[in-house]
């Protein structure tokens, strides 16, 4: 059955029937608006839009995968502020011929990813559109910590990474070349593995700046460098490239550091900490902050393909 055959209200009923409100949801789907708890009279909010064929491909990813990825991209933004995600609202723009099942599985993926951090889908909207588009807004709770922005990095800080880099980009390259394996890389493109809990931990450990890697490490660290008015250098020797990735890169004739340094969508967290900070095991130091401006790799400008600009 298609969404057009089912109609808007039927679709909403089917989808919301699959959503279980989480502990932070005081009033869930079905009214004009939802109500969500906060704990310190502040709420963190971020929104992302995913467009079919541009941010996901239905022949490469299941609806559940797309749900995981759409939720993950937003929940990572909340974590990158040092906050704990509490809720998602979702706008689905669906072509009339979209199977209802696709929308249901999308909701399952969104809900499952949110549940990883104790959050839930608390509301949404569905409209007909020629272009399948998913817009997700995430809310989060700082639980008393100051938000960790992009602008607080200081010369002398160390740069540290939590989570994976280059996996989603490697999976994308694999799929682009018509392959379906290595499975671990392809799966990483389909669903990010986001170290959500590292965001609030970093905030409590004194992170001076933080961002999630959605556009590529160099592009996103570049945002921190620009916002903080500092220079950031990362060192190749400090990364540990997984064997699978090195093998796949060799087979495909790609420099694996291009995946690691410029590949987005793994939603790793990268943060700056004062020199001498003792970091938990989730964090790996990958570089340092100095006076000046701009991004370098091993002290040199990176000459490979750069970030990702959605209109270009």
């Amino acid at each position: 059955m298609t969404v057009a055959e089912m109609g808007e209200f039927g679709l909403i009923e089917r989808v919301t029937g699959r959503l279980a409100p989480g502990p932070t949801c005081l009033l869930g789907p079905g009214d004009d608006a939802a109500v969500v708890t906060t704990s310190d009279n502040r709420v963190v909010v971020s929104t992302d839009v995913l467009v079919d064929g541009r941010h996901f491909r239905r022949d490469w990813s299941s609806a559940t995968d797309v749900g995981h990825r759409a939720a993950g991209a937003n929940l990572a933004d909340i974590a990158a502020m040092g906050a704990t995600p509490t809720a998602l609202v979702v706008g689905l723009s669906a072509p009339p011929e979209l199977p209802v099942e696709w929308a249901e599985q999308l909701a399952d993926g969104l809900a499952a990813e949110a549940a990883l951090v104790g959050a839930s889908v608390v509301g949404g909207d569905t409209v007909a559109s020629p272009t399948l588009t998913i817009s997700v807004t995430a809310l989060g709770d700082l639980r008393g910590v100051s938000p960790v922005t992009r602008s607080g990095a200081q010369p002398g800080d160390q740069v540290a990474l939590a989570g994976r880099l280059g996996w989603a980009a490697a999976g994308f390259t694999v799929l682009s070349r018509g392959f379906r394996s290595p499975r671990a890389l392809v799966d990483a493109h389909r669903r990010p593995l986001v170290p959500y809990q590292c965001g609030p931990v970093a905030a409590r450990q004194g992170a001076t700046a933080m961002i999630d890697v959605s556009d590529g490490l160099l592009a996103d660290l570049g945002h921190i460098a620009d916002a903080s008015g500092v220079a950031i250098d990362v060192r190749r020797e400090l990364f540990e490239l997984p064997e699978q990735m090195v093998d796949a890169a060799r087979a495909l004739g790609v420099d694996p550091y291009e995946w690691v340094l410029t590949g987005g969508e793994d939603h790793a967290l990268v943060a700056t900490f004062p020199a001498g900070s003792v970091l938990t095991a989730d964090w790996r130091v990958i570089g340092s902050v100095a006076a000046g401006g701009g991004m370098t790799v091993d002290g040199e400008p990176f000459t490979g393909r750069g970030g990702w600009d959605h209109f270009r």
Copy 2:
């Protein structure tokens, strides 16, 4: 200049440069997420998606108009819970050839409508898409009152209306027939005049249920009837039809009550109050609640065109 020529980051810079953070915005655009105040450790959240050609037409409405309408639709949902809107986040899916000016004027309209209630645009996302789509999420603050849901109407309650009905539908009909006047009706289609402040006032006055009229009075009161398990009757004689509307309806050969009873998008607020409640002058009693189920007009089922289902 088009959005593709300017690029994502340039566009974001241009648009956010026009946005002034409001008093409830602790951290505005430019980071992974924004931070907004709450006052009672709860936040109200609602989301809506508007699709070009379906929810607005660029030859009928300016970008500023579309911004007002997109913001109004969401802010009205917050008001209909009894809350005061605090913030908007906006996702813009833009075809590459969209003029940057259109996006800027959209932002102006969104910001101006939000400013009517002391709220502001605190963040967003822009992506390329074949279909121009605007997704808006609004946040609100209940300021200590209980949320007014759709499910609290009781037999014996009176049904009251704040704001205008049928104006946007009349304007839509006028435009559909190729006319550009009466101006007041056309303008009402372009920008709703939403009685935002009546929402929190109704909550404090003991409203038992409330909704904003986005799909049409009968459809939306029908949601209250269904959610509350009651019957609702509205009486034609209790409406006051403006002369302009009556004249336009006669000229176009339309029953003006069809506009009033089934026309959406004016975002009036309709609420139920216990019998004998003394209402402020903004509210007009238009009907009553009884035991049973379903919606009637003057005691009879309404046989005209009904609500609005986005997929049909």
